[in-house]
């Protein structure tokens, strides 16, 4: 194989994969620009084209409220979960804190179907006034992301940054400094990936958000699901709402560029 080929093969694989992901999404965009009648026309035809679905999600449905609630809940719960989980994961990986028992115990609650946890959680939240508040949802989502993030991160601390930390300790660094200044930067790609996945966990969480939210704290998944009604699915506005809710990913592009390239160089530091 010539070097040229070597560089092209990954791009071919990635393009095919990206297309498999993108084609359905492109069809969603198309549906968002038409009406239900045209969306189900076979063979497909151009039919009606317009942006009224995008207007409808803001006029008929409180899309901006759903979106804002989801964003706040996901951002805040991840912002709290990520440092907490990082610290716990480091403790697990470096000092074997609590041993296997604690490690498994932390995750065990997430092995129960959430439907079983939701009733007692409802009771707990109602008696503490957290019911139907965004704060309540943030806490509920914290219980989901904390254990998972900790487990993901343990594997990133179990790499060989231990020797670097030891060297630093000999040079007089405290345990805390070794953790913050050495271990965390080395595990940065893992921490950022975990943060991203933590955000996604909260962003998509359905059951707790359904039972614990109220009219003012309704999140995007609950709002979007309400477009499936007893009188049919409002598929065209739903498609428009899906498209709008995905736009922030592309706002992330500059950040991703930085993170993906930087993630590599941090790894190379070892």
């Amino acid at each position: 194989m010539r070097p040229g080929w070597r560089n092209i093969i990954p791009h071919i694989v990635l393009s095919v994969f990206s297309l498999a992901i993108l084609l359905p999404l492109i069809w969603v965009v198309r549906v968002s620009l038409t009406d239900k009648l045209t969306a189900y026309k076979i063979p497909p035809e151009i039919g009606h084209v317009g942006i009224e679905n995008y207007i409808e999600i803001f006029s008929t449905y409180p899309f901006e409220r759903w979106f804002f609630n989801s964003l706040i809940v996901a951002l805040v719960s991840t912002a709290i979960a990520l440092p907490l989980a990082t610290a716990m994961a480091y403790a697990f990986a470096r000092f074997n804190t609590g041993g296997a028992f604690l490690r498994l115990g932390v995750l065990a609650s997430q092995m129960l179907p959430p439907i079983i946890l939701v009733l007692p959680l409802f009771t707990l939240f109602f008696s503490t006034g957290l019911m139907q508040t965004r704060m309540g949802l943030i806490l509920a989502h914290l219980t989901i992301s904390l254990p998972f993030l900790a487990w993901m991160l343990v594997s990133f601390f179990e790499g060989d940054s231990a020797s670097l930390e030891e060297a630093a300790r000999i040079d007089g660094a405290t345990r805390w400094q070794a953790f913050i200044k050495i271990a965390v930067p080395v595990a940065a790609p893992g921490i950022l990936a975990a943060g991203l996945l933590g955000f996604i966990l909260s962003w998509n969480e359905f059951l707790f958000a359904l039972v614990l939210s109220g009219a003012d704290s309704q999140t995007l998944p609950i709002g979007l699901a309400s477009m499936e009604t007893h009188a049919g699915v409002e598929i065209a506005p739903l498609a428009a709402a899906t498209v709008v809710s995905l736009l922030p990913v592309f706002a992330l592009l500059p950040f991703l560029r930085k993170y993906l390239i930087k993630g590599l160089s941090l790894g190379a530091l070892k």
Binding site: F17, Y40, A87, F92, T97, L102, L104, P113, L121, G267
Partner: protein, 299 residues
């Protein structure tokens, strides 16, 4: 001399241990405060006759709920089905995901673009994914069967055929969730050190040898954790089933989480649903513990 060194290292160990607990304390406090009560409540409920129509813990029934659950052929069917479903999605997603992650790790150009694209399905709620795919897969009015028709394939009954429906759900789940694996595996790959590869290249190893002898061993823990977490999520799959098939046709896609959901909130039999959940928990926990020990033994 020896004794004093031992004491010193003991003291250091103690301080290490204390530092570890200090780091873990905030997380543990949060989990303790919010999740302990629901978990204990589930355990407690599983030992009582507890339905929401008459919610009281008057009758302690011991293991009766567990017996009822295990004796229920429908429950056993969905547990067995779930096992096969979970193995299917996790393995397929791992193979595809690892492949894509390896390729992504090789490229520089367009990398953020690829990455942004693969994040899109992850940011969609399962309910939306289900509704949208139902539209695509409509046997008569869906775009998928239309496209297949243009190359001469007769309409596929994606969700209405007992043999095909579960595979349809698996395919949609892969489309939706494969990126989860990619994000984690790519993070693992990008934190691997460069030196071993350089040394191997000097020794004349080819790409495949590098993969088997360097990448795989160093990625071991990341791979196991990724598989494990995806496994736990896959067992909990219920929204997708709920939107796409409701467990049908017949009982062809009746996964255990959806079954438990119905026992709890349709039949309102929280006692038996809790017992089923504890059984599920035990199974997953046993597997996790096994994987965990396996992981340790390799280190």
């Amino acid at each position: 001399m020896m004794v004093r060194m031992g004491q010193a290292s003991n003291a250091a160990d103690r301080r290490d241990r204390r530092f570890g607990y200090a780091l873990a304390a905030p997380s543990l406090t949060v989990l303790f405060l919010i999740i302990l009560f629901p978990v204990l409540s589930a355990l407690f409920t599983s030992l009582h006759e507890y339905t929401l129509i008459a919610p009281n813990f008057d009758t302690f029934t011991g293991l009766a709920n567990f017996k009822a659950a295990l004796g229920d052929a429908e429950f056993r069917h969905s547990a067995w089905l779930t096992l096969r479903f979970v193995i299917g999605v996790v393995l397929l997603e791992f193979v595809i995901g690892f492949g894509v992650a390896l390729m992504l790790n090789k490229v520089e150009r367009f990398k953020p673009v690829y990455y942004a694209i693969l994040l899109c399905p992850l940011l969609m709620n399962p309910v939306i994914v289900g509704l949208i795919w139902r539209m695509f897969l409509h046997p008569n009015l869906g775009i998928v069967n239309y496209l297949l028709g243009t190359i001469g394939i007769s309409p596929v009954n994606w969700l209405g055929d007992t043999k095909i429906a579960i595979w349809t759900v698996i395919l949609v789940d892969i489309w939706h969730q494969v990126s989860f694996m990619i994000v984690l595996l790519l993070a693992g790959l990008s934190s691997l050190p460069k030196e071993p590869y350089e040394a191997a290249r000097v020794d004349g190893a080819n790409a495949f040898q590098c993969f088997v002898h360097i990448t795989l061993p160093m990625m071991r823990t990341v791979i196991i954790v990724t598989l494990l977490i995806r496994f736990i999520f896959a067992v909990k799959t219920y929204d997708l089933i709920y939107i796409m098939t409701r467990g049908g046709p017949g009982v062809a896609t009746d996964l255990v989480s959806y079954f438990i959901y119905r026992t709890a909130f349709v039949s309102l039999n929280i006692g038996e649903a809790s017992a089923m959940s504890i059984l599920l928990l035990t199974a997953i926990l046993a597997l996790t513990a096994y994987l965990y020990r396996y992981m340790r033994s390799l280190n």
